[in-house]
Amino acid sequence: MRSKMLLFIVVMLWITGCANETTTKSRILAYDDFKKTFSTFKEKFDPGQFDKISPEHLAIITASFPENNLDARGADIIDHSVEFPARYEAYYKSENSSLLVKVNFIYFPTSKEKQFVTINSISPVQNSNILEDYRKIPRPFFDEYLLSMEGYLVLINFIDINKVADGMNDQYQKSFIEDTLVFYEQFEKSLLQIHHEVLQIE
């Protein structure tokens, strides 16, 4: 009798556990919601120490693909029209340094979670993947953050617009990175807030 009772308790405890488990529904992000997320972001995001340098109205920029055997669409558009670009973009310029930032929102309904995908970097001080004889090839300071959001990707390009010069060393790189982090911190805060507001994701 007691063992039956214990079994019953165990079963009920298991059911309780199941009841509290949240069911996560996967849903496809509608294009209009994607566009609205970007428009809201572009309008509201006003980072300190940076100027917004894109016009108030939308500039929709698309491109034809080179001849290829991968993709029959022919251009980076959704639904056969340049009215539905795969990507929206906005530019920002540092007030204190030569850092230029381009933020791209890319429609990508198969991305399902929020995460950093990778950070891609080019710089005159990053040499381990370049043969010694070629390490003097001038390169800009360039960082690229690729983030995955629910239904779209965010690609941030950080470019130092100073001409590449000999004095650009580790110290220069340090200040470049500091500037990118000042931007990113504000960017992420605003992105998460707008992402949740517009898409109403808990």
Binding site: M1, R2, M5, F8, I9, M12, L13, I15, T16, A19, N20, P55, E56, H57, L58, A59, I60, I61, T62, A63, S64, F65, P66, E67, G74, A75, S81, V82, E83
Partner: protein
């Protein structure tokens, strides 16, 4: 026996919350209450919240209040305010590419006014109303054709080129005289009129009157 009773109570304590949390939430009866009007109430075009600042313990001078607008003329400006730009890069393509776009009213952004003088919303509304009655027929025609289908633009971009389609709101530049008046609350019927020359470009924000250009580089 006492142990059994104790075990039963323990079971019940565990089971009841489980059942409660498993049950769907009952729908709360909803009472519809209108809390506030969706848009702010205005008096003579001035929002009520601004009127609150005009609480007058003693008599004050009120104005300027719109009386009339006498346009000397107006000119249509094709490129008053940019709505949207489409740019298609066809430089990597060996074939022509067709850009075909439609602009809807939801693209509209920005201010509807660009003028030499700052006025209250009420005075702007008065000037707009006068302009609308002057050029009313034309407004109605464009409204019917443009709003139904949206504004369209087409462009065939050659291989190796970049194509552009840009849309602007058309504006109307007007010059003329706006007459406003002031009065003292002690004697509202005794008005002081002032005429002001204006020079402004306007468009009606809820109305699709657009101009577009397409080119390639």
């Amino acid at each position: 026996m006492r142990k059994k009773v104790g075990l039963c109570i323990l079971t019940l304590l565990l089971v009841v919350p489980a059942m409660v949390s498993a049950a769907p939430y009952p729908k709360q009866p909803q009472t519809k209450v209108t809390v506030a009007p969706a848009t702010e109430t205005t008096q003579n075009g001035i929002p009520e919240s601004e009127l609150a600042d005009m609480v007058r313990p003693t008599d004050v001078i009120v104005g300027p209040v719109f009386h009339s607008y006498d346009p000397d003329g107006y000119v249509t400006v094709k490129k008053f305010r940019e709505i949207i730009t489409f740019e298609h890069d066809n430089t990597r393509n060996s074939k022509p590419y067709n850009m075909s776009v439609t602009v809807t009213r939801s693209e509209s952004q920005g201010s509807e006014w660009n003028g030499s003088l700052e006025f209250t919303g009420e005075i702007k509304a008065g000037i707009l109303a006068e302009l609308n009655s002057t050029v009313g027929v034309e407004h109605k025609t464009t409204r019917a054709t443009n709003e139904a289908v949206g504004a369209k633009g087409d462009m065939e971009v050659d291989p190796g080129k970049t194509g552009f389609i840009r849309f602007w709101y058309k504006g109307r530049t007007t010059d003329g005289t706006v007459r406003v008046y002031y009065y003292n609350t002690a004697d509202p019927s005794n008005r002081t009129y002032v005429d002001k020359a204006i020079d402004a470009t306007v468009f009606v924000a809820d109305h699709m009157d657009v101009f577009s250009e397409a080119w390639q580089e």
